[in-house]
Each structure stands twice: as structure tokens, then as C-alpha cells.
Amino acid sequence: MQYLAPTSVDEVVAALAQADGRARVLAGGTDLLVQMKSDMIAPDILVDIKRIPELREITREGGGWRIGAAVSGAEFNEHADICADWPGLAEAFDLIGSTQVQGRCTLAGNLCNASPAADSVPAMVAADAVARVAGPNGTRDVPVVDIPVGPGKTSLAAGEFITSIFLPARAPRSADAYLRFIPRTEMDIAVASAGVSLTLDDDGSCVAARVALGAVAPTVLLVEKATAALIGTRLEGAALAALAQACESAATPIDDKRGTVEFRKQVVGVLARRAARVAQNRAEERA
């Protein structure tokens, strides 16, 4: 096995192109190394992206934020301004693993591992985040929601990798929230989860909303009907009930060791409702 630690994006692209599918990108390694140790995968080449300076940075861009693909959870959560803009994504990212894991895990790694239960992904989708992808044919921007295509599978072409995640500029009175259900209190995997991002007008009416669900379908779900349930309301009981209903109907979970179809559907509606309420409170506080 070969370990490469290039210092530029171009070198990564070249290395991946040469490797012809036998290489894996190594970010924090908190999924990759675990999978290698348990004999699930055996890549011939590891391409470590942590030595590329621009991939380690969080920068302002057109009122939004660009987060390098090698920025860890701990680095993200120490960045006060980004956490103020995106408290929901911050709490989702922070849920990943323990203190040790936080020192290494990345948003792009969480996304490209393509687990339907990945915690930061519904929050990124609710935030309308966009991934910047570098590859043999140059660079392209892809909405985060379009990256995972099934458990363990992404839409990235051979030789492509993510260099950064972009979070758009925030309108005033906007906030987000993320909640997951786990049987324990930590060190667990989401049985169902919901990310909500919304914007209120001066009267407290919801003018924009995105609701994304995790662990209730093969990929993260962006629920359009949930948006419709919230827009134009002040998140009164009926609106929240409609939101929960929309999420329950959109969910297509499976029965497995972690939960039943029935349970996941019910709980994902509850989580969406509770997350919407938290986001609303945060948006009002930001006024």
C-alpha cells in the first residue's frame, strides 16, 4: 500500500487519475481507517488531503462561507462567526463522534462516506450548501444534496474529489437547527434525523425554509412539501403538524437493527417539528 500526501489540488487530481480506481482520498480517516481495519476495504493508494493549505481554511466569500475539505469538526466549532451564522450545522457537525474524532472528522468525509445516517449532511442540505469538486476535467460546483446517490455511493466521477463546501450568505432573521434520534445520549448513529433552515420576516412569518431528513431513505431527503407547510406561517400548531405529516409521508425507511419503519416515520416527523421550533427561536433571537 502506498501513502501519498500531496500539497496541491492538482497533485491530488493527478494521483487519483493515475491510480485508476485503486486509490482513496484520506481526510480525517475516521471512516476510512475504520473500514480498512475491519477488512471492509483494501485500497492500494491513500491520498491524504490534509497537507493542502487552502483545504484547511475557512474563508468569507460573497457574504457566505467557504470551508476547506480538510477542516475538522473541532476547527469548525471554534470559528465563532460561522457558528453564529449556522448554529444548526455546527451542532450537527459537533455530534460526530467524540473529542478525539472531532479533531479529525470533516464535512466532505461525512458526505462522501455516503451513509444515509451521516449527521452533518441533512444540516448541509437544509443550508443549501454547495460542494466544489475538482477533477480531471476541471472544477464544478454541485449542490450537496446531489452528492450521495445511495448508501456508500456518490455522484463523483472517477478521479474527482471535493475541495470545499460553500455555505450561502445568510438573510437577516435566519437560523437553522439539527436534531437526531439515538437510543443513547452520545457515541451512536442516527436512527432518524432532521435539519431545518428558515428565514422569518419582520412579523415572524416564515418566508424561506428548507427541511432535510436523514436515516429515513437511501440518501438524505430534501422535503419540498415541508417547505410548503412552513412558508407563510408563524409555525403555529397546525403548521408544525403539517410539517411533521409531510416528513412522515416523505420518509421511506427500512426495518433494521436500529429501528422499525413505523418508528422512524413517527420520530422523523417529531424531530422536524422540534427542529423547526428551535430554528424559529434562534431566528427571532438574531433579529
Binding site: 475491519s38 434520534f181 437510543p183 443513547r184 422499525t260 418508528f263 413517527q266 420520530v267
Partner: protein, 746 residues
Amino acid sequence: MALDEYEKRDFKVVGKRMPRPDAIDKVTGRALYGADMHVPGMLVGKILRSPHAHARIKAIDTSAAEALEGVRAVVTGADFPDIAPGEARNVRDNTMARDKALYDGHAVAAVAATSAAIARKALKLIRVEYEILPHVTEISDAMKPDAPVVQEGFVQENVPEGFSENVISYHQYGHGDLDAGFAQADKVITRRFRTAATHQGYIEPHAALASFGADGTADLWVCTQGHYFVRQLCAEILQMDQAQLRVTASEIGGGFGGKTTCFIEPVALMLSKKAGAPVKLVMTRQEVFRASGPTVSSEIEVRMGMTKDGRITAAEAELHYQGGAFPNITVQFGAMAAFACYDLQAVQTRGYNVLTNRPKQAAYRAPGAPMAIYAVESVVDELCQEFDLDPLEVRLKNAARKGTRASYGPTYPDIGLVATLEAAQAHPHYSAPLGPNQARGVACGFWFNFGGDTSVSLSVDFDGSITVTEGNPDIGGSRVSIAMMAAEELGVPYESVRAVVTDTGSLGHNEVTDGSRVTFAVGLATIKAARAAKREMCRRAAKIWGIDEDAVVWEDGCAKPAGPNAGKFEPLSIKEIAAKSSRTGGPISGHHEVNAEGAGVSFGVHIADVEVDPETGHTKVVRYTVFQDAGKAVHPAYVEGQMQGGAAQGIGWALNEEYIYDEQGRLVNPGFLDYRIPVASDLPYIDAVILEIPNPGHPYGVRGVGETGIVPPLATLSNAVSRAIGRRMYELPMSPPRILKAIKGG
């Protein structure tokens, strides 16, 4: 029974919270655990395991693996000699399959190679031809007359007709006239319960290093709760004399009963024998879950009658336990323990042991009792609710006490249940207010405790310091307690005593560290060994003074003349006697060998407050208090630790832990991600209240405390959750999907 050992005394050392002697080594990493053992020329062993729940092994072709560069030995079931039926044969067949793979994860072959990578590669080269057989993993399925038979030839004579050959043993206990008893009740209810198989969840995986000599002697270093038993099993399996095999136990990263037998040791020895080199075998976490010994799963039916003022008039229980593909006696313990907390005129329990295609169970803290008592205590609670009675009052009304004839036969001597219940009743927790969606549950628990074969040697070293040599791996702080009892008895400072767990070649036989026996039995033998050393030291003092032996007494850590007539001599300290010992007859030791009886039974009462989220079924334990009789708490912090640890494991068992099988009979959650033991943030501070009702069978009144603590939590939690949601729960674990379903009326 030895019930006249106890003498009241004022303790000087016992009862204090001494620093633990192993603490610094454990936090600095100097302590050596099973996998830390290294010897020159050591090979790496790895085991190939069956992917099928039940399959005939038609052929195994190991030639490609043997031909691989770096492979030094390959072992299959065919390498092991024939031996007589019994536990050693069961262990042999469990550690390496012969004709059939009996469960997902059953070992079918093993290799020893010069590196882990080569060993892994070699496993992939072994070709096993399986004929897949129908399998059965659930109790009720396995009992059906036409069920697939897991193993033939184990059915005992007294098993009633009408079941498959998987039902191998039947046990019945009780007394009195059930019909007459039920006729006196104002209400009789019958309820069915299920509990899942759970794993002890010890942090250290099984590890063994075997080194077989060319002369037929062998050494084994192993992480175990009982190296003498490991020696006994391995010697029989490899057909060698016990004396030719020396077994040394490492420090142990948890056992809880799961390390009371062998899972890899005979294989490590056989690989080493074949390779002619030392071989180390270490299980992965996945192997621990698939192929070590979880506890049984159960299906239990309880029928109980109660008068409206809370008197239980009659009770019976039928218990069906499965503990995998081999025999065990866990259901017998369950049938004995089920009603042990109560003073009943009419009681009966019937236990059935069932084979399934699951891993061979091992002991887990109070084996068999938690599930039986969970069912009984749930029914008691339901009847309390039915008549609107206080659950502790009702338990007090029916509590077993001195003179009660236990449902399993004996008549109790001094026991602590009533005192424990009264302590719970008086504790502020029991009357504290509850918040929204919260409720309180209580339950009792019981465990027999055990004594057994024990050898201790205590040497008075030339400088007067004391070494206690004992043979029981320290899984819960026993070394500190044993050193404290030696210091107490000799009248020397605790710091001058060191307790050492020695290998099988250095001391007579010791029963496994199980049955909460060590502080009781090894403590008892230590006290008696100290008394023997004191007698010898009196003899040496008599020699020094030139007076009669009988004229010397032992007081405050010194030999003294018995009285004015004995002569006028300054007292001789241990240090002084020890310094002269070479010249007065040689080194001084005391030793004691005993099959200790009189291990006093122990009772506990737990109170839990839970809060259940009505929309998700998530349970939060908000307050928890344990009350337990320790006889005498030699080291109170360790006793509290045992009580808290038992409660923590019981909470996990009640809420989330379970072995989950798929349609093919494969374990789908062999890891800590999906086998959910509680993490620290899942638990409240667990308050521990120690009661001390002296055990008449121990010189200091000690009772075992290690196991009782895991018995009450299952029902305590179930009673609390049932009261919180207003619906009775009948199945463990009470995972959120199950609770939500119950809330929604499913």
C-alpha cells in the same frame, strides 16, 4: 453450613477506603493485560469462523494455507483427541467445531503464522465445504417437536415429553399447595415475559499466549477469571497432566462472568504444540460478540395470587432459557432464585434448558437470576397497582426473613432483606417529587453467593512485611480487600501487606473468581492463614524467650507473654520475630486450604426514577439508588463500585442491549455501535447505600457483593417505565421503538 465463624470486633483497617494497589499501574499503562504478553519467536494465531448458523462440515482443505510462506501450523477439530463426555468436551467442541458448525461465528480452523497479515491471508486460503442445515435461534421455535436439532444426545431423563431434542434439562423447585393458595387470592394474574441475550461487555477481548515445550510441558498466559479452571479444561482437552501445564493470569479488563471458561486457550495450545513455537491468539471485538459467551435469553411465565391487602398467597413460574448450542445450568439458578425474596406458603418453579444455534453462553453476574426476578418483580408491581398498594410495603409484607423456608429449599439464617427494604423506604429518594413524564420503579433482587475451593499462603518476609499469595484474578478490587483483612488480623499497617495473584504452579487449587466468592472465601482463608502465621510467630517468640508455647499470646501485632507467670519479656513485633526467623526454625508462613461454605445470601433493593419522552419512546434515567446488604463492607468504595456497576449493566440490559439475529441466524450487531451498552452520559449518578447484616459464615461477617446488584435493575426500570407511560411492558430491552409502540397502543 459453617455458620459459627462470625465474631463481633472493632475493626482497625477493615471498613476504611484504602488506595488500590493496582491503580497507578493501570493509569500509567504498566499493568500487563492478556494481549500485552510477548515472548521471543512468538507466532500470531487467527481463527476462521463459520458464516453459517448451522452447517455440516463436509470437508476442510487446509493445504493451500499450509503451503503459504510464513504459516507454521494449521489446526482443525480433527487435531483434538477424543475425550469423555462432560464440560471439557463441550468446551473443546465449542472452541473448535468438529462435524458441525453450530452457530454463526463457531471456530472451524485456526492458523499460526509469522505475522498477522500472513495469518489473515492463510485463513482466506482455507476451503471449507459446508452443507447448510436448517437453524433455530429462538426459544419457542427450538422447543417445538419438529425443530431442527442442534446437538443430539444431551437430553436428561427427567425432561417431560412433547418437546424436540433441544430441550435437554428440566428443574423443579417449590413447596406447598398451589391450588389452595390461589383460591385464597383476591386476584390471580398470569403474565408472559421475554428477555434478550446480553453480553457482559468487558472492555478487554479474550487473549492467550501459549508455549508448548518439546518435553510436553506447557505454559499459558491468559486473561481469565480462573486460571486453575483454564488449566483443568485445557489439560483434559489436550490430554496432559494438570501439573505439566502452568497457567498465569494477566491483569483483567473486566470479566463479569464472561471469562470463567475457555474460548480460545485450547486452540492456542494446540497451535503452539503443532508449530513448536509460542502462539498468541487475541480475539477481535467482533469475535468476542460472536464467539464468546453472552448470557441466556429467556421466555418466562409467572402466575401470582394476592389478597387485596397485599399478601401473596401463591406463585409459580415457568422459565425457558436458551444458552446456545451447549448445555448449561443457568435456568436452574433462575428457577431457584425466582421467588427467593419472598416468604411463600405455596410456590413452584419449573425451568427448561433449550439448545439453539447461538454461541455457548457463559456466566454473567448472578447468572439466571436477573431475568427470573425481572418477571416476578414485574408481576408484583402490577398487582400493587391493581390494589393501589405501596410497592415497598407489599414487599415488606411478603419479605423473606430469618427462618423463612426459601422457595429453593433451605431455611434462611440471618439475612438482610427486611433491613434493606426499610432503608429504601426511609431514604429521601423514595418520597422525592417527580416531574412531568416521570415515574418511579422499585424492585428487589437476590443472589446465592458462593464459597468453594480456596488456597492461600501468607508469608512473613524477613523484613516483617507480608506477602499474601492467592490464586484468584482480581476483577473487582479483591487484592486490596484481602491485604486489608491480612493487616487487620495480624495487627500490622495495611501498607506492609501485598496481595499477589499467583500462577497455578505456585499454590494449591482455587475455584474461579465467580459467585461473588473471592472477598468472602479468599478473605476467610487469608484470615485463617494469618492466624496460622500468628501461632507460628508465638512459637518462635516462645523459643526466643525460652518459655512454653502456650505461655505466649498475640496482641496488637506483637507476641507477648500470656501473663505475669509466663515471665517478664518485652513484646516482640512481627519485624523482630521475622528478623530472627532464619535462626529460630526457618521462614515463617501461614497457609489455609478450604472448601468454604457459609457464603451468605445477599439481597438488594433498587429505586429508579425515569422520564420517558412520549413522542419518541426515549427513556432517561433521572435518579437511581441502590440498597444492598454487604455483610461487612471491607472496602466500602469497592462495594459501592460493585453496586453501581451492577446497576449500570442492568440498566443497559433493561433499555437497549440485545443480541439481534437475521433470517439466516447471523448476529447482525457484533460491535459496540449497535450493541448498545450505556455510555457515561446515559447514566445518572448511582447512589449506593450499604447495609451490614453480618454473615454468620465469615469471621468478619463478609458476604459476596459482586452479583446481586445486577438483579433488581431489570424490573426496577420496567416498573418505572410502565408507570411512566401507563402501560405495562413485558419484554426487554425496552428500546425506544418498543416503548413508542406501547404508548401508541401497539
